[in-house]
């Protein structure tokens, strides 16, 4: 009996102790300076948060696509060796789904984020933000989502409505939030 009381008090002391101490970890995180983050490190959200300044249109994007993208993705985003980027509208629930920006992708901001992040495949990071905006505009134009002359920039891109967006849904993860 006394032993049990002793053990319980020890446990109590441990928790009181740990609550009172500042550091329960080595605290080896060093303050991160704003200047240490590259533009790529910041996620681009569907509301446009994280988009850099810059702009481009499909007219400007077409020749860039011909240089940097066509060898993998084909003329006008079709019949390439890799992912088809245009067309396929209405095919998603049919027997031969073709998942493209126009037929499937829910957010236009994703196009900018991914092209800047990972493309061109062999030289990621080699395009300027203006060039990425222009290629984004051209890909949206190929899918009939924007017209050829529309200026795509940090303000207009988040407003572009993707045709298949309404078909996406997800469960809420809001329960049990927080330690």
């Amino acid at each position: 009996m006394y032993k049990r009381i002793f053990v319980i008090s020890l446990i109590g002391l441990f928790f009181i102790g740990s609550a009172g101490m500042a550091a329960t970890t080595p605290e080896l995180g060093r303050t991160l300076l704003e200047s240490e983050l590259t533009p790529l490190d910041t996620a681009i959200l569907p509301n446009g948060q994280g988009l850099p300044r810059g702009s481009g249109s499909a007219v400007l994007g077409k020749p860039l696509y011909a240089v940097h993208c066509v060898s993998c993705h084909g003329v006008a985003g079709k019949n390439g060796l890799h992912d088809q980027l245009a067309g396929g509208v209405g095919s998603i629930s049919g027997p031969q789904p073709v998942m493209t920006l126009g037929s499937y992708w829910p957010y236009a901001t994703t196009v900018f984020d991914y092209v800047r992040r990972a493309m061109p495949y062999h030289f990621p990071g080699s395009l300027s933000d203006d060039q990425v905006y222009a290629i984004t505009a051209y890909l949206l134009f190929l899918n009939g989502i924007v017209d050829e002359s529309m200026v795509v920039n940090e303000s207009s891109l988040p407003l572009v409505k993707m045709p298949n967006k309404e078909n996406f849904f997800w469960q809420s993860f809001d329960q049990d939030m927080g330690p």
């Binding site: 060093r30 910041t42 992040r117 990621p124 469960q171």
Partner: protein, 418 residues
């Protein structure tokens, strides 16, 4: 043990024996060991002279060179694709690190740990930067857990069964002991603001692969993994550090972890929208279906491991669930007409592979082998027909249907649908 004795241990039809059959048999077998003499001239070559010297790191026997991964990369690339684990040649629940499956989106970066930093920022009080050496000083936790690509077993949606091996069909799952820092500790240091709901994780590969993770998972059991099976992560699995989200689809456990940005919403990255989303036949698509379903798989016998002659065999396989522990695995050798409970090697661990075994006397007639897992949440592994219900054509992620292996009269094994 005589055949008469074994027949008394029948657990289901078509030769399936009680799950404790091999345990009982072992007790009798011990008395019959041979003590044959070996004269000097009868020594095998490797006993006639001292063997090779020691080495700093071991390699498998050269007679095991056939046990290897199957890397397949997209055309024009060498590092955008997957290497599948040779499941049918492995036992237990730990996949050797050199054979752990890999899935890359732009090759394997060769990262200098001295130059690599993990940045934690966004909706936090104190943006922080961590080095790998620093993280190694934190209190680490270790767990034996599975990692499965959500595209694993995707070939099983094909209208007719693909004639392929167990590893080609299902090799995007592996098991390891993962050791790392609970990510909640790092977020605690950074101080998440009330607005923080999601974490955007990105990697230091050429694709800057990125995924959005709800913070509830981070506080539950996410770690920044530094070690795999006792050694530092290998480059193909994220050296010097990776996110590890137990039980969740592999793609979300971002390798070569470089940034963790706390946000109030998901980033809707390319992978989590255009790729790892589940399409229904109604045209709707579900995002963020992270948890891997309850699943099992007979790894032996399986295609390529054909039965040589009728007789006693051990059916061996793996079972796992993203919801927690495996509670039970049942096995059938008559296409699901009758089932017997399989033996589980050890007390199942949560979100880990569990090895199951069953004794089977194959009488030489055609048979269809199935396994069916149940997890501690009460979920039962579904049939292929149930998994396919409501799926759009080509929607292949999160396939966890019961696998059927047909054994024909010659002992050859192949993938079939039942």
């Amino acid at each position: 043990m005589s055949k008469q004795q074994t027949d008394s241990m029948a657990a289901a039809d078509n030769g399936l024996l009680h799950r404790r059959f091999f345990l009982k048999a072992g007790a009798l077998a011990g008395t019959a060991l041979l003590t044959a003499q070996s004269s000097a001239e009868n020594r095998p070559t490797w006993m006639k002279a001292p063997g090779k010297g020691m080495s700093e790191a071991g390699v498998p026997s050269r007679y095991e060179n056939h046990v290897k991964r199957l890397p397949v990369s997209r055309p024009g690339t060498t590092g955008s694709g997957a290497s599948r684990s040779p499941l049918e040649h492995l036992e237990g629940i730990i996949t050797p690190s050199r054979l752990h499956f890999e899935r890359h989106h732009s090759g394997i970066p060769e990262i200098d740990p001295e130059q690599h930093r993990l940045a934690v920022f966004g909706e936090v009080q104190r943006p922080l930067s961590f080095s790998a050496a620093g993280l190694c000083r934190y209190p680490l936790v270790s767990s034996i857990q599975f990692l499965e690509c959500s595209g694993n077993s995707g070939a099983l949606i094909a209208p007719s069964p693909v004639d392929a091996s167990c590893s080609v069909l299902h090799g995007l799952v592996s098991g390891s002991e993962w050791s790392g820092v609970p990510l909640a500790l790092l977020l605690e240091e950074a101080g998440v603001k009330p607005s923080g709901k999601w974490l955007i994780a990105s990697g230091a590969d050429a694709a800057g692969m990125s995924r959005s993770i709800p913070l509830s998972k981070i506080y539950d059991d996410a770690i920044v993994a530094l070690y795999q099976n006792g050694e530092r992560l290998r480059p193909g699995n994220g050296y010097p550090m990776r996110l590890f989200l137990p039980g969740w689809e592999g793609n979300a456990s971002v390798k070569w972890l470089k940034t963790l940005q706390v946000t109030d919403q998901p980033a809707m990255t390319k992978d989590e929208t255009s790729k790892y989303s589940d399409r229904g036949e109604d045209g709707r698509a579900e995002l963020f279906t992270f948890e891997m379903g309850v699943k099992s798989l007979i790894t032996s016998p399986s295609p390529g491991l054909d039965l040589a002659a009728k007789g006693l065999y051990q059916i061996s396989g793996i079972a796992w669930s993203g919801a927690g522990r495996i509670k039970r695995v049942e096995v059938s050798t008559d296409a699901g007409r009758t089932w017997a409970e399989a033996h589980l090697d050890a007390e199942p661990m949560p979100k880990s592979l569990s090895r199951f075994r069953a004794a089977w006397r194959w009488q030489g007639a055609p048979a269809v082998l199935l396994s069916r897992a149940t997890d501690e949440a009460g979920q039962v592994q579904p049939t292929r027909a149930v998994v396919m219900q409501g799926r759009a054509p080509g929607s292949f992620y999160h396939y966890n249907g019961i696998q059927a292996w047909q054994v024909d009269a010659s002992g050859a094994v192949r993938n079939v649908y039942v």
